[in-house]
């Protein structure tokens, strides 16, 4: 990797040298984040249940799941904020339990709740961060300009953060998280509570970061459409990873397309589908909905053989919603409606301590 060769060259001259056993490189070659059997229990509640994962350096890795699935708790453990009940994790090659300071020095964090001081200006917030992370004073002005320009806030550097909109705050937090040049940037629901336009611009910055910088991005989201931007995603439900792959592979694994038809008699259509095509259908979004492999080829047969007038038909490729559904048997919105909410509240409260 680019950065690594530079570092070695800078440190030891151009001669290729075997990496000393104690360095970061030798402990985890290309794994920016790795977890083995990571578990967190709060009393009787298991928030995270034996998670294994490996995130490659330079990757954008998404953690997708309903609220309360254990996403924030997992991030908390990876970021050394939450002590795991069992299992181990390493970030940027450092152990999250025994080398906390090294991990912290090498990660940037953007939480779902703002952690800015609204009574300080944007620049003061960044300067505070630079001091806490022990940056050499000489590099601070240049770096501040770089990160603030990157998120388009350089002109507003002297404004109090209290005067910023939600999107500006989130951008400022991303900028702040980059001040100390982290190897891994963790973002917990980076676009939650933002309007669609701001969400898109945040994703723009993240894509830019990933393209141009040696940085691994690890983020959580419960927006299906956003998970599409990730190189790989892990779907998490009830504290377990139930699927982990690229978005395309996950969608392919569903194996069928979604077909929605509107008919003169929906109940009869469902019965007919079962009897003539051996397909289980249900009503979703006001239409008879079912999944079949190769949806386009199925539609002509449907018209020929269903025997009930069809008013409209829609065939769609599986979305991540369908992926979630096929692994958990429910939509992500259903999963959030139930016990998720107070679980999430609870997990957040614990994480705040």
């Amino acid at each position: 990797m680019n950065l690594r060769t530079i570092e070695t060259a800078g440190g030891d001259g151009a001669a290729p040298m075997p990496a000393p056993a104690h360095t970061r490189e030798s402990t985890a070659r290309d794994s920016a984040v790795s977890a083995r059997g990571l578990t967190k229990r709060y009393g009787g509640i298991t928030a995270v249940d034996g998670i294994d994962l490996d995130v490659t350096a330079g990757e954008t890795f998404g953690f997708l799941g309903p609220n309360g699935a254990g996403k924030s708790t997992t991030i908390g453990m990876l970021c050394t904020l939450v002590q795991p009940t069992a299992g181990s994790a390493s970030v940027a090659g450092f152990d999250a339990q025994t080398q906390r300071d090294e991990v912290r020095r090498n990660i940037g964090l953007v939480f779902q709740d703002s952690t800015l001081d609204g009574y300080l200006s944007a620049a003061q917030n960044l300067r505070f961060h630079a001091e806490l992370y022990g940056l050499p004073r000489a590099v601070v002005p240049e770096r501040m300009e770089r990160v603030l320009s990157m998120v388009g806030l350089w002109e507003r550097r002297d404004s109090l953060v209290n005067t910023f909109s939600g999107g500006m705050r989130r951008r400022l937090e991303i900028a702040r998280g980059l001040m100390h040049l982290p190897r891994v940037l963790f973002l917990d629901e980076p676009t939650i509570g933002l309007d669609p336009q701001t969400r898109a611009s945040i994703w723009g910055y993240l894509a830019e970061l990933q393209r141009d910088e040696d940085i691994t991005i690890f983020l959580t989201t419960h927006y299906m459409d956003e998970a599409e931007y990730c190189d790989r995603i892990a779907i998490i439900d009830h504290g377990r990873i139930i699927a982990l792959d690229t978005p395309d592979a996950l969608k392919a694994s569903v194996g069928h397309d979604r077909v929605q038809i509107q008919t003169a008699d929906d109940a009869a259509a469902i019965t007919a589908l079962r009897e003539r095509f051996d397909v289980e259908a249900g009503i979703a979004e006001g239409a008879v909905t079912f999944g079949v492999p190769e949806g386009e080829r199925f539609v002509p047969r449907l018209f020929a053989e269903l025997g009930i007038p069809i008013r409209s038909v829609r065939v769609s490729r599986p979305s991540l919603d369908d992926v979630f559904m096929s692994y958990t048997g429910k939509t992500i919105r259903d999963a959030e409606g139930g016990d998720g909410d107070h679980m999430r509240q609870f997990a957040r409260q614990m994480a705040r301590r």
């Binding site: 530079i6 970021c79 904020l81 703002s114 952690t115 505070f128 806490l132 992370y133 705040r352």
Partner: protein
């Protein structure tokens, strides 16, 4: 943006400063933040001066007629109350400075500090020093009112008062931070601090002399740490005024079983209480995940 952080990494190879250096920088920046926020908050500076002025000029003047001791030489009841009100002001300001930890927790900023690669000791220490500076500064401003209360502007006296106020400010902030370690909302912190501050104030001898009290009140005033902060202030003031016969009654001096406790022991009591509470506060923040 090809010239972003990748380029920065190249030009500035990061080497971690030593742990101690980094912790000291953390102490300083947390401390500085408290000062910046205080300086930005003019409203707070003004409102925190109102309460002491009320005590001195309204309560003090009003009570003077009741006691019948209006004056003796330059000394009035207000002269007696002046050190007590200095203590009161510092006590409240320090406690409310400590509330900023709860505030930071509610508004998330505490996390920014807790995830940094610095020890929590440094953060708690920075908070205490910041809160203490603000509180001592408030107390020092009140010394301006000395003349109106029959207390001379003697440089030695002023230095003595400021020194004592600094010790008190530190101890009270440490106390507040210790409380703040476990409190989650600003409302419950305010409630809790009122519950603690008022009894401490009333039992400190800020408003009445500690001599000739009933036995139960003697015990309560003697175990109140604030007593040992107010008394040196009063002794310092009375050493610089001509109180005549009133000096014996009002001049201060805490006794333990008839033995007058020297000022240095009083200061040591306050200071060690402060350090002990700082220790507890640090331990609590280190334990919290």
């Amino acid at each position: 943006m090809a010239t972003g952080i990748r380029a920065l990494r190249r030009t500035a190879p990061e080497q971690a400063p030593s742990r101690l250096v980094q912790d000291l920088r953390a102490v300083r920046v947390v401390w500085t933040r408290e000062l910046i926020r205080f300086a930005n908050d003019r409203m707070r500076i003004v409102t925190s001066l109102i309460q002491p002025v009320l005590y001195l000029f309204v309560l003090g003047t009003g009570l003077s007629s009741l006691t019948g001791v209006t004056s003796s030489g330059s000394v009035s009841l207000r002269t007696f109350m002046f050190p007590g009100v200095l203590g009161l002001s510092v006590q409240f300001t320090a406690m409310f400075s400590a509330a900023s930890i709860v505030w930071d927790r509610e508004f998330g900023f505490l996390r920014e500090m807790l995830v940094a690669p610095v020890s929590r000791t440094a953060i708690v220490l920075g908070k205490c020093l910041g809160g203490a500076s603000v509180a001592a500064f408030q107390g020092a401003i009140l010394i301006v009112l000395a003349g109106a209360n029959g207390v001379p502007y003697n440089p030695a006296l002023i230095l003595e008062l400021i020194g004592m106020l600094m010790v008190l400010a530190f101890a009270m902030t440490a106390f507040g931070v210790m409380m703040a370690a476990r409190v989650r909302t600003i409302q419950s912190f305010m409630g809790l601090s009122q519950l603690v501050l008022m009894p401490m104030f009333f039992l400190s001898g800020a408003l009445y002399p500690l001599a000739n009290l009933p036995a139960w009140l003697v015990v309560l005033t003697r175990i109140n740490p604030l007593t040992y902060a107010v008394d040196p202030l009063r002794r310092a003031v009375f050493a610089h005024v001509d109180a005549g016969p009133l000096a014996a009654r009002f001049g201060g001096g805490v006794t333990w079983f008839g033995w007058t406790v020297p000022v240095w022991i009083e200061v040591a009591v306050v200071l060690s209480m402060g350090l002990a509470m700082l220790g507890v506060a640090i331990a609590q923040f280190r334990r919290a995940d």
